[in-house]
């Protein structure tokens, strides 16, 4: 039960993009087409789950054990960088089409704050191993959800008559703001 709650909380209520502002760069950059958004979301979800699975042992069995928790950030980021590199190489090999579509955003998963944020929150909230993985997966799912919604809306907006100054990033941010307002409805859905 607790796992389900963690999942729902991570994906809906405390959606990383809309409440913690994590992962905004790809959220703005890759959400112009649904297909790209989905691919990016899936790749990020994958990386996030892996990250949770990889950083938890590092934290617990190296940093805490040797009493050097201040190395947290360095250790996490290096693990993430390695994972992303792996995923990148893998996608490049398995699906050049996806690779081409995501272009420069794949390496940007490294600097996707959502991934590092995930590792930090995981430690902050004292999750155990399984919980961490679920948390990572839920966060990724929430990220994908937000990306998908935004990409759908943006595809629709191609037909709309948005004032010139607002086109692009600006209107995307404003829509994100509106989505954040709507997501407030989930607040308090799961307590304690």
């Amino acid at each position: 039960m607790k796992l389900i709650l963690i999942f729902i909380s991570a994906s809906l209520i405390n959606n990383f993009v809309l409440t913690y502002f994590l992962g905004i760069c790809p959220f703005l950059g890759v959400s112009n087409k649904t297909e790209n958004a989905l691919n990016m979301g899936l790749a990020t979800t994958f990386v996030m789950t892996l990250t949770a699975a990889a950083t938890w042992p590092i934290y617990t069995y190296i940093l805490v054990k040797f009493n050097v928790p201040f190395l947290e950030y360095v250790a996490f980021i290096i693990a993430i960088a390695a994972l992303v590199q792996l995923v990148e190489m893998y996608i490049r090999k398995s699906s050049p089409a996806i690779y081409r579509a995501m272009g420069i955003y794949l390496p940007l998963i490294t600097t996707n704050c959502a991934v590092l944020g995930l590792a930090l929150f995981m430690v902050l909230r004292d999750y155990d191993y399984i919980e961490s993985i679920i948390f990572g997966f839920g966060t990724g799912a929430g990220f994908t959800l937000a990306m998908l919604m935004m990409s759908g809306i943006r595809e629709e907006l191609e037909f709309a008559d948005v004032p010139e100054a607002f086109q692009g990033v600006s209107i995307t941010l404003i829509i994100a703001g509106m989505m954040a307002l709507a997501f407030m409805g989930f607040a308090g859905l799961i307590r304690g």
Partner: protein
């Protein structure tokens, strides 16, 4: 290839080791300061909820693998004035941590201080405003703390909930009740007075 691999290996290892070293050095300097800050913060909170206290003693107990910590406030003459402890529990969004001051007579609260909360700004987060916190001064804890809405409290164990933030008010009250119950059970008055 091999050459490159060696170079990669060396560069990363050295950068890793150097940064590890630097961080350890900085940590060595900063850590005591950070610990001191924490200490200070705790102390302040305890003295807010136990105004007469001039010093405190840490009492710890392990119950069901869970560590319970209370701080016994001591006035200038060395007499115990009350217990301070942290009530931690879920709020509307995330945890609420409250420092609770319990009178040494074990009947009334001496005050509370919200340490951490994540409630809705302008609504739930008004639990940290003095108007709300002050209601707990001298509040009777028996049978338990209660809240009522829209009206002035009628009983000595009642406080008025914040309009529109029923859940946050409820969470505060619930957390305090839980923590008080736990303390009453594990730290009997006689034991503390010793």
């Amino acid at each position: 290839m091999n050459n490159l691999a060696t170079k990669m290996f060396l560069v990363l290892t050295i950068i890793g080791a150097v940064s590890g070293g630097i961080l350890a050095g900085v940590f060595h300097v900063a850590d005591p300061l950070i610990q001191a800050n924490r200490e200070k913060e705790l102390k302040e909170a305890i003295f807010v909820v136990l105004p007469e206290a001039k010093d405190y003693k840490v009492l710890e107990k392990e119950v069901d693998k869970e560590k319970i910590t209370v701080y016994k406030g001591i006035d200038a003459e060395g007499k115990p004035v009350g217990l301070a402890f942290i009530a931690d529990g879920g709020g509307f969004q995330g945890n609420i941590r409250i420092m609770v001051g319990l009178n040494i007579d074990y009947l009334k609260l001496k005050g509370i201080r919200v340490l951490e909360q994540n409630e809705t700004p302008g609504l739930g987060n008004r639990i940290k405003e003095p108007q709300f916190e002050d209601q707990f001064k001298g509040l009777e804890i028996k049978p338990k703390v209660e809240y009522i809405k829209y009206r002035k409290p009628e009983k000595p164990n009642q406080i008025q909930a914040i309009t529109g933030a029923t859940i946050s008010s409820d969470a505060v009250v619930k957390n305090i009740n839980n923590a008080v119950a736990k303390v009453l059970k594990n730290f009997p008055q006689e034991e503390v007075l010793k």
